[in-house]
Subunit: 315 residues, 2 copies
């Protein structure tokens, strides 16, 4: 077989100099700190739809955006960052404009001085469904009420670092594609598949049907040590995720093997302070705590999640 490479779709980066801060060509990067005008808002006050862009900051995160399903359609940066990014951008299909400006013009457009010197913008592709992101996943994180962008970003970073395959957003979570979240995640919010649950907490049943043991992380009463929850009973008769009436639980389903190593795990975490809702925890297979942590403010939610991810990875 002979694959013809169409070099015309691999055009080099197109450099366009911007000297006027009001130039409409950089509107996708304008007023990034504005609460109601920033271009990465999916929805605007009054029900209007925002530009719904995703903004990557800095060379590393822009490179990860290029490698993700969020294909950047434009860059905005200083000359030095153009040089650092150009090798990556050349590999993109189609001509992608790099709007080049001084640091001062950039600051006027975006509304603050950006140390990282370069931004990339992508349109949000169609959202993935819960079923899609869990299909081949072994370990997943499930968030409820986590409304802090930095915590969500850290959870993505920890997920990428500790082999977590997907993140599910239950009710009350902040937008994982907000710029600050993408930055704190080091770009991993663009690489780790995620989905928003449209049926919460009903989707927990979907997870169980797909062989996941659902583990609610909580310091509260009635919880078992995390390690016990991860390596806990795999006997189908005692494990609700492996009931014999469960069609997903055939003998060939590795999630129902007696091996801890093969079990599929879903870790649920709630916001610092309120934690998971009682109703949500009741829908889970088991409640688990991190041993000996003192009080509810003892660990950040992303750190608690990392410990759970590590435990799953180390079984």
């Amino acid at each position: 077989m002979c694959h013809r490479i169409d070099v015309s779709t691999r055009a080099a980066i197109e450099v366009i100099d911007i000297t006027d801060p009001l130039d409409a060509r950089v509107d996708d990067f304008r007023d990034l700190n504005s609460v109601d005008r920033r271009p990465d808002l999916p929805a605007l006050p009054g029900g209007r739809v925002g530009k719904a862009l995703v903004i990557a900051e800095g060379v590393l995160v822009a490179q990860r955006m290029i490698a993700s399903r969020f294909a950047p359609h434009a860059f905005f940066g200083v000359d030095r960052r153009l040089a650092e990014l150009s090798d990556d951008v050349v590999e993109q299909p189609g001509g992608v404009p790099f709007y080049r400006a001084s640091a001062e013009v950039m600051a006027e457009v975006i509304g603050f001085h950006l140390n990282r010197g370069v931004l990339a913008a992508a349109r949000r592709p169609e959202a993935l469904s819960v079923s899609e992101v869990i299909e081949s996943a072994r370990t997943i994180a499930v968030l409820e009420g986590v409304n802090d962008h930095e915590n969500i970003g850290s959870i993505f970073r920890n997920a990428a670092g500790l082999e977590v395959d997907a993140v599910i957003f239950g009710a009350g979570c902040a937008d994982p594609l907000y710029r600050r979240c993408v930055r704190v995640s080091m770009g991993h919010a663009l690489l780790v598949p995620f989905a928003k649950s449209d049926n919460w907490p009903g989707d927990l049943e979907l997870l169980r049907e797909n062989g996941f043991r659902t583990i609610a992380l909580t310091p509260g009463e009635g919880s078992v040590p995390l390690r016990d929850a991860v390596t806990g009973p795999s006997d189908p008769s005692s494990d609700p995720s492996c009931s014999s009436s469960d069609s997903s639980c055939s003998s060939s389903d590795s999630s129902c093997s007696s091996s801890d190593v093969e079990r599929k795990l879903a870790f649920l975490v709630g916001a610092e302070g309120p934690g998971l809702k009682e109703h949500t925890m009741r829908s889970c297979d088991v409640r688990a705590h991190i041993p000996m942590s003192r009080g509810t403010d003892s660990l950040n939610v992303a750190t608690a999640a990392a410990v759970a991810f590590y435990e799953a990875l180390s079984r």
Copy 2:
């Protein structure tokens, strides 16, 4: 025995209203964001000594300061926070002034608007020595080159949450008593004992003499999985921390028992990016990595430390 409680040293809080932002009585809270004038600077440019104060922000952190060895000598806050703090302050010996002001006057004094509405200031007590903080410690964290205040704060928070008894600062670390560090630590920087090493990395030998297994966290080659490092060989003949020539390693020394549970552990972490120095790692008993983490930016240094603390706690 009869203990006489001197009620005169338990004076109630003394409320002093501040209406002039230039009032010298609140100088201990002035220009908190200033690089070279902030009152919590231990040293000033040119070798001059700063005020060397410690500043706690918010009710929770101020309460923890009150409970710590850093006794606050003054508070500065809005009326609402005075009410929230007064129960704690009354328990302090001596009369402690609470400088009460409007949010606007506070903002003028400290240089920014403080959402948390209250500050506490303490003078730095005499520093603890490495020997003092490790004396009864079982698990400790040892930092090298960690120069980010938020990371240090997070490490203190994780240490408190996961039963780590002390933190040792090797070369190149930032000031753990800087306001931002204390805030991110949720006040635990004031509660978890710490010491700065004056003999780095020579003090690693002191740790080993005191029965600690020194574990260098590194993703690099030649490292064993973290769990193996924690539960690794306890046979004195194969464990350098338990050599027979080590006077601290008597048969009554629990660190040399065959039980993993009783072993004393010191986890060394370096800054994100550069990590620990090769020379430092060579002085450690073992190098350990967190399994499967991808690349050097995969986990934040405080998160990596938390995973190690958890592993120590769960053995």
